[in-house]
């Protein structure tokens, strides 16, 4: 993994100096990274079809969000050709022996051509009636949500895989593993954002290369942050020359990120709460150590990736938004969520919580109930975003109730703003979040319940 990060850093350094056809360069590097970084999965040919699907979804959504008169620009045809060339390269890569780059199980060229042809046909059909653009956008929005559910829900996922297997050239039945679809959670949320903003007329027009570069932007592929297109485009189009502080920022964040991820998080993982340790530990003291280690590990791991992404993007003159801002030093849960995975929280606020709150107001639901419904359902959805299972739902429920409780409490009680109260708030908030990680870390509610009893000294 370290080697992959270093290679991507080298690519970012190189592309950062590239002045001409910059968006095309970033797009090609990003698409190549999607294929290159895709983890092994079963069935094996999905190592090709999953990245291909990421690319196909990006192209399709671009087609549907772009006004028809802007699609046939020369730059878009060139970008399409460049993408076709890259796909061809990925497909023939297996013949390159020692020079082979992409560890993917590539299909026969006839199958690939048929897949590309099908995509082109679908797009052409949807282009026949330009007045239906909004219908296609709506269909794509809901289709993406259903696909997201299918990827996250194990039962749906098996149905999806088994349904696709015969189409993908795999005749022998295989036991599908959980799909390790690289970056899909982030890709889907970027696409949903563009579809929604296009429907509302707020999306700036983007060329094909710009749009694909945005959706599959390689520094943010695996762990975000979720940038917005309107912030990303101007930086891609008119990059500011790198100044001294940009170089220093990039160096500092990359080194910091690598140290967090490889120098701390990987080691904390050995002492972080997991199924094995949870089932074998009776002592509350040790159990708290495991929970603390997990809380630190997940923060260092996730924020470490983000640091590297921010540093890498800066080499390309792109300033990504921060995703973490001292979340464990916040004095209440609302502030914690304003500083933890910031871009995801903002996404949900913009596209779910605020519209829901408006709807509930229109329905004249009692304010307290509206707040409860809004916060609970938002946090349940954020839980489901991580994975469709009971433990993530419980984690979402824990935080949803916590946010509601804090909202009610903060409305009634005004605490003095002394360092002591602030310290107490930080302590309480951190422990609330840390206990919540128990649900997140363990696969089953039963295991989580056992850990909670040990933590609080309740006899088993």
């Amino acid at each position: 993994m370290l080697n992959q990060i270093l290679a991507l850093l080298a690519v970012a350094l190189l592309l950062g100096q590239w002045k001409k056809a910059r968006a095309t360069g970033v797009m090609l590097a990003s698409v190549a990274a999607v294929f290159w970084l895709q983890p092994q999965t079963k069935p094996e040919n999905f190592t090709f079809w999953l990245p291909f699907a990421s690319l196909a979804l990006s192209v399709a959504v671009w087609f549907w969000v772009t006004p028809p008169e802007l699609r046939p620009q020369k730059e878009n045809w060139l970008a399409g050709l460049a993408l076709a060339g890259l796909l061809l390269w990925v497909d023939v890569d297996r013949f390159l022996g020692d020079f082979s780059i992409f560890p993917v199980f590539t299909p026969r060229w006839q199958v690939l051509s048929a897949a590309v042809g099908l995509l082109a046909l679908l797009l052409a059909l949807t282009a026949i009636r330009s007045g239906w653009r909004n219908v296609w956008q709506q269909a794509a929005f809901w289709g993406l949500l259903i696909l997201f559910g299918a990827v996250k829900l194990p039962g749906w996922q098996n149905a999806l895989v088994n349904g696709i297997l015969p189409l993908s050239g795999t005749s022998a039945p295989e036991a599908p593993s959980m799909l390790g679809w690289l970056g899909f959670s982030y890709i889907a949320f970027r696409l949903l954002h563009t579809l929604k903003d296009a429907q509302n007329g707020r999306l700036p027009p983007a060329r094909l290369d710009e749009f694909v570069a945005y959706v599959l932007f390689f520094p943010t592929l695996s762990a975000g942050p979720i940038e917005r297109l309107e912030r990303f485009l101007p930086q891609l189009r008119s990059p500011q020359p790198l100044r001294e502080e940009d170089w220093i920022f990039a160096l500092r964040r990359v080194l910091l990120g690598l140290a967090k991820k490889f120098g701390a998080a990987n080691f904390l993982a050995a002492a972080a709460l997991n199924e094995n340790l949870a089932s074998q530990t009776q002592s509350p003291g040790w159990m708290w150590v495991f929970v603390y280690a997990y809380a630190l590990q997940i923060y260092l791991d996730f924020s470490g990736y983000t640091d590297v992404a921010l540093g890498m993007a800066r080499l390309l003159s792109i300033r990504l938004p921060e995703n973490f801002s001292r979340p464990y030093l916040q004095p209440n849960l609302t502030l914690f969520w304003n500083n933890w995975h910031i871009t995801l929280t903002q996404w949900f606020r913009a596209y779910y919580f605020n519209p829901l709150a408006r709807t509930l107001r229109q329905w004249k639901i009692a304010p307290t109930l509206a707040v409860l419904l809004g916060q609970l359902s938002t946090m349940l959805l954020i839980g489901l975003w991580h994975g469709a299972s009971g433990n993530y739902l419980l984690w979402g429920l824990w935080h949803g109730l916590g946010l509601f409780a804090h909202q009610r409490w903060a409305g009634r009680v005004k605490l003095p703003s002394t360092p002591l109260w602030r310290g107490a708030g930080i302590f309480f908030t951190f422990h609330f979040v840390a206990v919540g990680w128990v649900f997140f870390a363990l696969g089953s509610p039963t295991a989580a319940w056992r850990v909670l009893r040990v933590l609080f000294g309740v006899p088993l």
Partner: protein
């Protein structure tokens, strides 16, 4: 911020990185000695070996780190009589928890009036007397009083160098030179280059040593260094009809095959510490082709010859030697003709008890 010049900063960072690596390679600091075991968390019952964090254990190749994590690195207590166990995965206790190994079984069953016997598991899942001798040399620092050395035909035959021996290449070379041992690694690998000794060159080893420290927390909390035993296929009473053993396809004279000189070196190294060699128990198949092979590992021709040669050598050299090759019934084995179950280990401990007491109990 404005006063910092980026090229200068990059140059300084690079220079510091290179200098740190160069110094590390030149000094080769004994990083493995830095350990939280035996003070922050308890010393391990056996040497670390395993796959990684999810397995509660990890393999490290640095000899200092191996021993620093083991409870043998604790100071010897007054009145303590230290018994060290050397051997392969069977002695280490593959598929067993640390409380179920031979060392633990001996600890529970063997006692001497007026002496506190402590048994230390220095087994390691690599069957090699070269590795055993290296461990024995390292163990000298910890004042052993008696050494139990488990032997098998495989541990006594030359092997390709494994990572543990290569990582401690200088010590291995010194040992082979000091005792004029017939097999060395002179041609296997040139002395490590500066790059190999640098932080970058040693990054994997350093990372695993750090992970070993982090795993000390899990060890301290659970007392387990391996995941609970999962199901394994039972050993079949039937074996293949092959006569193959090591590199031989048919019966041969094996008198020049085994590395007796390593055992001799061990005895010379410990002139005042008794060593009790014992031939490890093996699974004896009773089904198809059992007239040709004892089990999947050993054809009868080779194993019988090995036993005979070992007995003769021990007699000639005047070594203490016990042959317990067939004392464990088939149900006392787990997944491998050498790996014992907890019950098997208890039976073996009972068989060795009188020999240990002869040495340990005044």
């Amino acid at each position: 911020m404005k006063n910092i010049r980026a090229p200068w900063l990059f140059a300084k960072t690079l220079a510091f990185f290179l200098l740190a690596n160069l110094l590390f390679a030149l000094i080769t600091p004994p990083v493995g000695k830095i350990s939280g075991y035996n003070w922050l968390f308890p010393g391990r019952e056996r040497l670390p070996f395993g796959a990684g964090a999810s397995d509660l254990n990890i393999s490290v190749d640095d000899l200092n780190a191996l021993f620093a994590s083991h409870k043998i690195s604790q100071a010897k207590q007054p009145g303590e009589y230290r018994v060290l166990l050397l051997g392969d995965s069977s002695i280490w206790g593959e598929l067993l928890q640390p409380q179920e190994t031979l060392a633990a079984a001996l600890q529970n069953s063997v006692a001497c009036p007026g002496r506190t016997l402590r048994f230390y598991n220095l087994g390691y899942p690599h069957p090699s007397v070269q590795k055993d001798l290296l461990f024995l040399q390292e163990a000298q620092k910890h004042q052993p009083d008696l050494i139990l050395w488990a032997l098998t035909p495989f541990s006594l035959t030359p092997k390709a160098p494994n990572p543990l021996l290569l990582q401690n290449f200088e010590q291995v070379l010194a040992l082979t030179a000091q005792y004029s041992l017939p097999y060395d690694y002179a041609n296997a690998q040139a002395p490590r280059s500066l790059y190999q000794k640098s932080i970058v060159g040693q990054r994997d080893s350093l990372a695993r040593m750090a992970l070993l420290q982090a795993l000390g927390i899990a060890w301290g909390a659970t007392g387990k260094d391996t995941a609970p035993l999962t199901a394994y296929p039972p050993l079949s009473p039937d074996v293949k009809g092959s006569l193959a053993f090591g590199g031989f396809d048919a019966p041969q004279d094996l008198s020049q095959t085994f590395l007796w000189s390593y055992l001799e070196a061990g005895v010379q190294m410990n002139p005042h510490t008794p060593i009790l060699f014992f031939n490890e128990p093996i699974f004896v198949a009773s089904g198809k082709n059992s007239d040709v092979r004892y089990n999947a590992m050993y054809p009868r021709w080779a194993y019988d010859q090995y036993r005979s040669l070992l007995r003769q050598t021990a007699q000639t050299q005047g070594w203490q030697y016990v042959d317990v090759w067939d004392i464990i019934p088939p149900q006392g084995f787990t997944d491998n003709p050498l790996h014992l179950s907890a019950q098997g280990e208890s039976l073996l401990a009972a068989a060795l008890q009188p020999y240990i007491q002869q040495n340990a109990c005044p």
